[in-house]
Subunit: 95 residues, 2 copies
DNA sequence: GTATAGTGTAACGTTACGGGTTACAATACA
DNA sequence: TGTATTGTAACCCGTAACGTTACACTATAC
């Protein structure tokens, strides 16, 4: 399990892709062929990176789709782990 | 990217957890504190493993939630990659 | 001051999916 | 024959990803 709160993938996208290249949200959304609202939601942490979006990002920025989706998984999992103790699950062993 | 079609995580769950321990679907669903239908959907590839379900599985089988969610991600990503060529995405470089 | 560009986001709709319940048909077994 | 197990259909709900349109705000250029 992860040690600490992973950043939302949207932050990484903004800081490592958009800002360094000086690309506007509008231009990036257009290049990715998604609406400006969809990209903005991701950048501001209001939506996650879907598998298809991961592939789009991998094409646009010549990266790996796996890295994008993994970041999202780690983020989602950390959220879920925060509620681990509230789950009523039994250890399952040989019947 | 992955080389070949990864198995649905539900198959692994059945083959590596339920069958070896001789646990019925009904009993496992009960232990996981989800409905029998929910577990059955996963086992038969009709539903994915959600972040919360990954945590449940990690408790029930004393495994890592990360491994379960990663398997699901790899599976989902492979599906998305199959449609890579149909996406109208532009390479994004410095403005 | 007045365009123009960029941004965030509210409001609305659609589609998909995880999850629940109930109920049914099929299988297997004591 | 009765009981346990299983898959799944039919229905519900909540949420999330996506789209469009429209608005308010900022900044920059003229």
């Amino acid at each position: 399990m992860l040690m600490c709160n992973p950043p939302h993938p949207g932050e990484i996208l903004r800081e490592l892709c958009l800002e360094p290249l000086g690309i506007s949200v509008t231009a990036a959304a257009s290049g990715l062929d998604v609406s400006r609202k969809t990209l903005s939601s991701i950048l501001n942490g209001r939506a996650g990176i879907s598998p298809e979006m991961a592939v789009r990002l991998s094409i646009a920025f010549e990266t790996s789709s796996e890295s994008w989706l993994n970041q999202q998984s780690q983020y989602d999992l950390w959220q879920a782990e925060q509620r681990r103790d509230s789950l009523q699950v039994s250890r399952l062993s040989a019947a």
